[in-house]
Amino acid sequence: MPILEIAAKYTTYAVMAVILVFALGVVTLRNLFHCALCLAAALIGTAVLYVVLQAEYLAAIQILLYVGAVVTLVIFAIMLTEHLAGKTVRQNNSQSLPAIAGLLGFVSLLTALILKTPWPVTPTALQAKVLVMGLGKALMGDYVFPFEVISIVLIAALIGTVVIAKKDQPEEKA
């Protein structure tokens, strides 16, 4: 179906563009809450991109973990730290000009590099389909050690978070 495929391809480019727009929103918007919402949108767009790259499982996980958990967490933090009445504080510090200069260099450097590199795209890999079951077997087989390490890291982070965020015991009043 050439028409549909071309449509899908350009839709994908459109999705990419939308992601970039939202990403720009993340770093430029003044209202931090809007930033977080833009982040959520960008992440959902990325999930769509994952689907395009045939990583459906990861797309679902992306939405579940990033949008469902991380963004919620961020919004919680924003609500707890930001006073609701919008103060007009400066959101950017004074080093944006050197940052932009450096980034331009960075982007041009790497773009040139990407375009120059002959990527070993293998047709067999393009045909391969990753099933959830295969993913699970790999996770429980070859990658079981990093998997366990991640679980330990998560638990450590959980406990650490609780310890850090816990209020200090109120001091006894004399």
């Binding site: 940052a99 450096g102 960075f106």
Partner: protein, 647 residues
């Protein structure tokens, strides 16, 4: 039904009580006693069927390797033969009854739970000792018992005398224990085993197979092992600790220093009986020690005024009897007397405890006429005394008669005579005690006696029943069943019952009682008159043969002098050396200080100053603002990339 491994629970249950009581005693409070009693009763409940099975002829043993000594395995295990079954029966029953009694006696004591913790630990040790099948385990529990004895004698450690007494008991028995340790190590060298059964087999087999035993080494071993008995069972040279041990609570005296622990020494000899038989030269020594102890202690007991001290000397005397019996190869007689003695002497001590509990005095001169006020105590006390004095058909008569028979039958007439005299003295001093305590007029109006609570009198009656009945299995009524039963253990000469011996025995007992009755109830001035007539004897008896003074002068004093001399040496020679070394060090360090201050410190300070100078220039990069660092990192990475990729 009886499974053999169940026997392991018997010592472990009291140990559980010990652990719980020592850890949670503060919380348990009064329940500590019930925990100990419950575990003891449970141990008793487990032990009795096992004992019954052994009485029926069963035999249990089990071993597990504990460690390898070179190539020789050191095995721990338990052994249930007639001897241990008998002891197990006695220890669990008497121990439980005494603990019940102690629950009443110790009531209100601030260290109530600790007392029961110690008692439970003691029960654990004693039961382990009884069922142990080798010398090492035996010795370990023996030492734990020594510790318990020390702790319990010094239970009222606020009292200086109690603390001293506990120390004395511990150190004195230590002498014997060292002997025991040497003894069984020697035995190990001689036989290569510490196991009782294996030892018996080896020694018994030696006769048949002409297996060459190192008799000299064995004799040494037996002698050393007997040292343990002398210490623990308070035999002649080392008996001095036992009377002082009466500073402890009365149930302790009853349990440890009358019924069980001191009997462990006798049990040791009984356990090692084949060894003693194998080297016959030792037995006369045993006999001599036993006889001397029996006589001497009885003689001392005649003039003592402290109710518990009289009983303590009586205990020593009776232990002497048992040792004599064993020395005369009378394994059955000795063991039998051990059992009966445990019952009635425990009863006597508990009765004495009851009296002390009721009157709060210990001196018999301040008592008198207590029979009316404390009928239960008095009646049970009298039953026990009759048993001790050897009045048929009470238990003491049968066992003592066996010993006398052994002496008489084996032809040791001197020994027989001394023992008979001792029996007379025993009857006399016991009834002196009874008449002074329970009869006559109340001599101290300040004493207001009252009967003890049921918690204390019920064990008294139980033990009284035991004292009456426990002699039956060894009496002609049951055809000397007990002796036959013990005789499974080892072969030893047995003698036909002799009417003459019995008659003599009864006669001296009655005579002693009668004399005591006349002297302390009718003709009260006789006692003083006797003392005046034989002043040297009286003083000898009253001052306990001057043993304590002797030891103080010839053992303690020299050691103290030695200690003082060593202290002088330490003070002058060793301390002097140390001080001089210190001075030398001071001098050297003064020199070093100069070098340190001007050369080393100078270099370090220079470095510091230089670093500080450069630092004041470079530190400006550290703005403390996170994103500046981030930018620096980013730019650096970018530069690195740029140069690395050679654009």
């Amino acid at each position: 039904m009886v499974t053999s491994d169940q026997i392991l629970l018997v010592p472990l249950l009291p140990f559980l009580a010990f652990v719980v009581n020592i850890l949670a005693g503060r919380w348990l409070k009064d329940r500590a006693a019930w925990l100990s009693i419950a575990t003891s009763s449970a141990a008793c409940g487990i032990a009795l069927p096992v004992c019954w099975a052994v009485f029926q002829g069963a035999h249990f043993a089990h071993q597990g390797t504990w460690l390898m000594l070179g190539s020789t395995p050191l095995r721990f295990g338990y052994l249930m033969d007639p001897l241990s079954a008998t002891l197990l029966f006695m220890v669990t029953v008497v121990g439980t009854l005494i603990q019940i009694y102690a629950a009443g006696y110790m009531h209100g004591d601030p260290r109530y739970s600790r007392f029961f913790a110690y008692v439970s630990l003691f029960m654990f040790a004693m039961l382990t000792l009884v069922i142990s099948d080798n010398y090492l385990l035996f010795f370990m529990s023996w030492e734990i018992m020594g510790l318990c004895s020390y702790l319990l004698i010094g239970f009222y450690f606020e009292k200086l005398s109690a603390a001293n007494a506990s120390l004395k008991a511990f150190l004195t028995t230590r002498v014997g224990d060292v002997g025991f340790l040497l003894g069984f190590l020697t035995l190990f060298a001689a036989l290569g085993t510490l196991n009782f059964s294996e030892m018996n087999t080896l020694l018994a087999g030696a006769h048949k197979t002409h297996f060459v035993l190192n008799t000299g080494l064995l004799a040494t071993a037996a002698l050393f092992i007997f040292c343990g008995t002398i210490g623990k069972s308070a035999q002649f040279p080392l008996h001095v600790w036992l009377p002082d041990a009466m500073e402890g609570p009365t149930p302790v005296s009853a349990l440890i220093h009358a019924a069980t622990m001191v009997a462990a020494g006798v049990f040791l000899v009984a356990r090692s009986f084949t060894l003693f038989m194998a080297v016959p030269n030792i037995l006369p020594v045993v006999t001599a020690i036993g006889t001397i102890t029996a006589f001497m202690a009885a003689f001392i007991a005649l003039t003592q005024n402290d109710i518990k001290r009289v009983l303590a000397y009586s205990t020593i005397s009776q232990l002497g009897y048992m040792v004599t019996a064993l020395g005369l190869s009378g394994l059955g007689a000795g063991t039998f007397h051990l059992i009966t003695h445990a019952f009635f002497k425990a009863l006597l001590f508990l009765g004495a405890g009851s009296v002390i509990h009721g009157t709060h005095v210990q001196d018999i001169r301040e008592m008198g006429g207590l029979f009316k006020k404390m009928p239960h105590t008095a009646v049970t006390f009298i039953i026990a005394s009759l048993a001790l004095a050897g009045i048929p058909p009470l238990s003491g008569f049968w066992s003592k008669d066996e010993i006398l028979l052994a002496a008489f039958g084996s032809g040791h007439f001197l020994v027989y005579g001394v023992l008979l005299l001792t029996a007379f003295m025993t009857a006399f001093y016991m009834f002196r005690l009874i008449f002074l305590t329970f009869f006559g007029a109340a001599r101290n109006p300040g004493v207001h006696a009252h009967e003890s609570p049921a918690l204390m009198t019920v064990p008294l009656w139980c033990l009284a029943t035991g004292s009456v009945l426990i002699g039956i299995p060894g009496s002609p009524f049951m055809h000397h069943w007990f002796q036959t039963f013990i005789a499974q253990m080892a072969h030893y000469p047995e003698y036909d019952p002799s009417a003459f011996v019995m008659a003599c025995s009864i006669a001296v007992a009655v005579l002693g009682i009668a004399l005591a009755g006349i002297m302390y109830l009718r003709q009260k001035h006789w006692a003083a008159a006797v003392a005046k007539t034989f002043p040297s004897f009286y003083r000898l008896s009253f001052n306990k043969f001057y043993f304590d003074e002797f030891y103080f002068a010839y053992v303690v004093k020299p050691f103290q002098s030695l200690g003082r001399a060593l202290f002088r040496f330490d003070e002058t020679v060793i301390d002097g050396t140390v001080n001089n070394a210190g001075r030398a060090t001071l001098f050297v360090s003064a020199v070093k200080q100069w070098i340190d201050t001007y050369i080393v410190d100078g270099a370090v300070n220079f470095m510091g100053t230089a670093v500080y100078f450069f630092n004041s220039i470079v530190k400006r990069i550290q703005t403390g603002i996170l994103q500046n660092y981030l930018l620096i990192v980013f730019v650096s990475v970018l530069a690195f990339l740029f140069f690395e990729l050679k654009f």
